[in-house]
Amino acid sequence: MNADLVVDVQGLNKHFGPRHVVKDFSLQVRRGEIFGFLGPNGSGKTTSIRMLCGLLTPDSGSGTCLGHDVIRETASIKREVGYMTQRFSLWEDLTIRENLDFVARMYGMRQRRAVVDRAIDALGLGSRRDQLAGSLSGGWKQRVALASCMLHEPKLLLLDEPTAGVDPKARRDFWEEIHALAATGISVLVSTHYMDEAERCHRLAYIAYGALLTSGTVDEVVAQQGLSTWTVTGSGLPQLQEQLESLDGVADVTQFGNALHVSGVDAAALERDTAPLRANGAQRWERSEPTLEDVFIHLMRDTKDNFQ
């Protein structure tokens, strides 16, 4: 076993009733790394994260989290992991201070008061410490929730869609904080829907319909799919999109603002099949590097075909 892996699990499975929600899930996260966890809604991200921190028992599989067995040593895992739930899970009828104080007590923190005061000051919430948590705005709730799961100085943070529904400025601040934490040696596993966030991760994994489809650095993930992409700008894009979708060599056509991204798995076939449309000169065609988003859209469409 590699001592540098904070998460190292193999073949985790989880069923809810007849539904196989997570299939043969394997994941390695290295120390000090920010690991992005992507996938459409309902693909099993939350379920996988819960299995890592002992909130759900896998039906089968094995592995460790911070060196503790994910099935037998959940109590030890809970002490060393900071888990931020997808849904706000602090007590809305307690004040910010009471919430943080309660969590600190649960972890048996020494110098609890000092720790809580420091956390509140760091949040810049000194004047609002006695406000009920339920009355905070979305962005503030996220920050308080992050502060609460950081109180006991965990070595690994599991953040489940921490920035969903948060405005862009708050999102940027949030990621700066996460990078600062990672710089101090804390490892972070974060699930997200946002591509810009995915690109800020050291490595990432993509999961759909319960199966892990790909993982690696952004560049590796992009390269693995071997997509070729053209970017098309100009007029008449909606009609062009329809025409392109019927072509064999074209795998995905996606609109990004004023441009279409046209991708295919086989570069030669893509070039050959789109040649007539490129020749008519109504739009500007340029070869481009496939983006992470192109890759994910491709992956999602592929798996949908395989699973439905």
Binding site: L55, L56, R79, W91, D93, D101, F102, M106, G108
Partner: protein, 379 residues
């Protein structure tokens, strides 16, 4: 590694958290005070019924033939079922105090001789009148039954006496509630009903509320142990139960003048045991139910038989056998015997064991069930 050891720090913080949340929950707070007062006022009225086959003890100090006549005459009314023969009045007293019999019929020494001589001897019937609706009809039937039976038996030997009724002087002694006031019976019973309803419901909601709001996941992610969470959540409700009992007792005492014959300390002790049993049930419901609605439904599923079959609504001995069997499992049934005993009869601790252990047995069984169902994970 002491990760799995019970921590008092954590337990105390869970208790504190529950208190703070309770303090901010105005509606629940209103219920705590409102329910006991309103119910005591509403229920202070009579509900009647006509139970039969009431257990009766016989103290026969004269073993003449007329003793048999009297026993069979009373039994033939359908109201009296002779289950015990006591050798002394003291022994019979104990039976009625423990609630093991409803009546004691005492035939004094020299009864037969006095009867034949036409001296109109006394026949003493003591009734446990705690629940007046249980004894009223039985006592009303006594005189007629005796007169008919004795008239028949006395024919021949003392025919002239038989024609001049009444031949015996029936003395009825209503004990524990001499004036037969229904409120005396209902109001102490309400203590149990109020506790059953609020304790089971409030704890039933306690855990499901966390689950519905998503905060349970947070709690589970901390090192808190199931036993810390379960018991920590119970504590505030014990206090609430005691407040409710005090309010109901004050209302009973000062509005309905219900007597408090026994020891208050003993009463509160019994109340604590009963509260514990109900909280255990509530927290178990809470572990089994998936949401607050289900917890509420389970509570009512339990609450209805508790009201109907415990002897609160109808006299316990008036119910069919199967209903009595169900009723005797319910803690409320035994609590009613205990509370009525302590308040109205002044019963002391050692006379109450037979009603306390079934409550403990209930609590133990439910606790096992609850720990079996407590989900340590979100599965």
């Amino acid at each position: 590694m002491n990760a799995r050891r019970f921590s008092w720090t954590r337990w105390v913080s869970i208790v504190i958290k529950e208190f703070i949340q309770l303090k901010r929950d105005r509606l629940t707070f209103g219920m705590i005070v409102g329910i006991p007062v309103i119910q005591v006022l509403l229920f202070g009225f009579a509900i009647n019924s006509d139970p039969k086959s009431l257990p009766t003890a016989l103290v026969s100090l004269d073993n003449g033939r007329y003793t048999r006549t009297i026993v069979s005459a009373l039994a033939n009314t359908g109201y009296f079922r002779f289950v015990r023969e006591a050798t002394s009045m003291e022994e019979a007293d104990l039976l009625i105090e423990r609630g093991q019999v409803q009546f004691v019929v005492t035939i004094p020494a020299g009864f037969e001789r006095a009867l034949v001589r036409g001296d109109r001897p006394q026949l003493l019937i003591e009734a446990d009148a705690t629940d007046p609706s249980a004894t009223g009809n039985a006592l009303a039937a006594v005189n007629q039954a005796l007169a008919t039976a004795l008239a028949h038996d006395l024919q021949g030997v003392t025919a002239d006496l038989a024609s001049a009724p009444p031949t015996v002087d029936v003395r009825i002694q209503r004990r524990f509630n001499p004036e037969g006031i229904t409120a005396f019976n209902i109001v102490p019973g309400l203590l149990g009903v109020i506790l059953t309803m609020t304790m089971v419901l409030m704890t039933g909601l306690a855990m499901t509320r966390e689950r519905e709001r998503g905060t349970f996941e947070n709690l589970l992610a901390t090192p808190a142990l199931p036993v810390e969470v379960m018991t920590g959540k119970i504590v505030p409700y014990i206090l609430i139960g005691l407040i409710q009992v005090t309010l109901a007792l004050l209302a009973a005492r000062y509005i309905f003048s219900v007597p408090i014959e026994g020891s208050l300390l003993l009463l509160y002790g019994v109340v604590l045991v009963f509260i514990a049993a109900n909280l255990t049930l509530g927290i178990t419901f809470s572990s089994i139910a998936r949401n607050q609605l289900q917890a509420m439904q389970m509570t009512f599923f339990f609450f209805l038989p508790s009201i109907l079959l415990s002897g609160f609504m109808f006299p316990f001995r008036g119910m069919p056998e199967w209903a009595q069997v169900i009723g005797s499992v319910l803690p409320l049934t035994h609590f009613l015997v205990l509370v009525r005993g302590i308040l109205l009869k002044g019963t002391s601790l050692h006379e109450l064991y037979s009603s306390i252990w079934p409550i403990f047995a209930f609590m133990g069984a439910i606790l096992l069930l609850g720990l079996r169902f407590y989900r340590k994970t979100l599965d």
